[in-house]
Amino acid sequence: MKNLKLFTRFVTLVTIWSLVIGTGWMMPQDVEARAVRGGTRTNVNRGGNVNRGANVNRNANVNRNTNINRNANVNVNRNVNVHGGYHGGGYYNNHNDGIGVGGAIAIGVAGMAIGSMITAAALPPSCSTVSVNGMTYQQCGSTWYQPQYSGSQVNYIVVNPPR
């Protein structure tokens, strides 16, 4: 009987802890993964001569200062699925919000196509900032990313290793 008592106590503890831990690890993950549509206007006047009906491409001008990487002038279409967490750059980027952060691309891993773009939140955990010929890169294992401001958010483009 004493054993039974101990057993049931044990079950109680395990149940409660699994509840605590179970919800615990889910919470921050959830918050991190929120995708934001954006599009909230912060100015009344439309401004500029922006042709909003047109196909807008981003010309990334990747690696224009280096002779090592010939992958220049990568056109990143806005409809490219950018993986990331909270679209922190949405704040000013009225027109930059078509970026789908729906999680179509997994965390940046080796083998991503050159020219693919991810957000900072999707960078693998162990990367180092490396400067090559005056350009800034993130090296994550064998994959190299070039950070760039897209609107007021930094995105990372997969590039050929610069060295």
Binding site: V36, G39, N59
Partner: protein, 289 residues
Amino acid sequence: MKHQFARNVYSAVLMPTLLLLAGGCSTQQVAAPSAQPSTVVESKTTEPSSAVESSAAQPTPVIEPKAMDALQKMGGFLRTLKTYEVSFKVSKDEVLDSGQKVMVDGTSELTVQAPDHFHFSTKIDEANRDLQFFYDGKTFTIYGNTNKFYATVPAPATIHELLDVAQERYDIDLPFRDLFSWGTDRADVAAIQSAIYIGPTKIDGVPCDHFAFRNADVDWQIWIQQGETPVPRKLVITTMDQEEHPQFVSNMNWNLSPKINNKLFTFVPPKDAHKIEFAVVEVVTENTK
């Protein structure tokens, strides 16, 4: 002994269940108030409705000259300002993919020396945003206080032109752009479909006049300070061409005689900062690629 067992079973099985139920109850309580209005609506619709008729017949939009005059007066005054600081407290709806709206708060500081200098810093914790923008008439720089990345580009000669370039070429629509549109032909005055004076009120203790405007794509409200310095003290923009009608709310505090250090406008990279590039927006009119 059997009792003891039962008690233990109770604590093992029922306790978590109770916990869950308690959780369920609390969410139900939260949901309850929002359910109430919908029943009110229901009772309304059963009555023979005159409300339906009035909504069907679109009231003709009103453009009150008083409202348009106030806007013009404010714009004219803004264009006379040379050196000033504005502190912003902003709230902005972000629309999640589910269509749910969440509101994030932030603060910004703008320092202007017209026509060709500004510094703008902005912080929204929940959106991981902590940025500075520098413009000194020669270059335009964005710097992330957290990630230490900066990008610098050559800039046009005036703030007005820079705001256009930032928006068109670099996809950065600075949220204070309106302050430089009003009083110029960059203000879409012709786009205003409705303009009404709501009434006098106070914003942060300062007497203001409250106006409501309607454009094709935005409903917006502005609170303009009464008296000799007709600056906007508050702005609310409701984005109407988005299904969820997200809002942007900005409260402004003005200092029209600040002491400014000129070094503020020119970016000097900190030792641990990294230079990166701006992505350039390319408007492709024909699908040649």
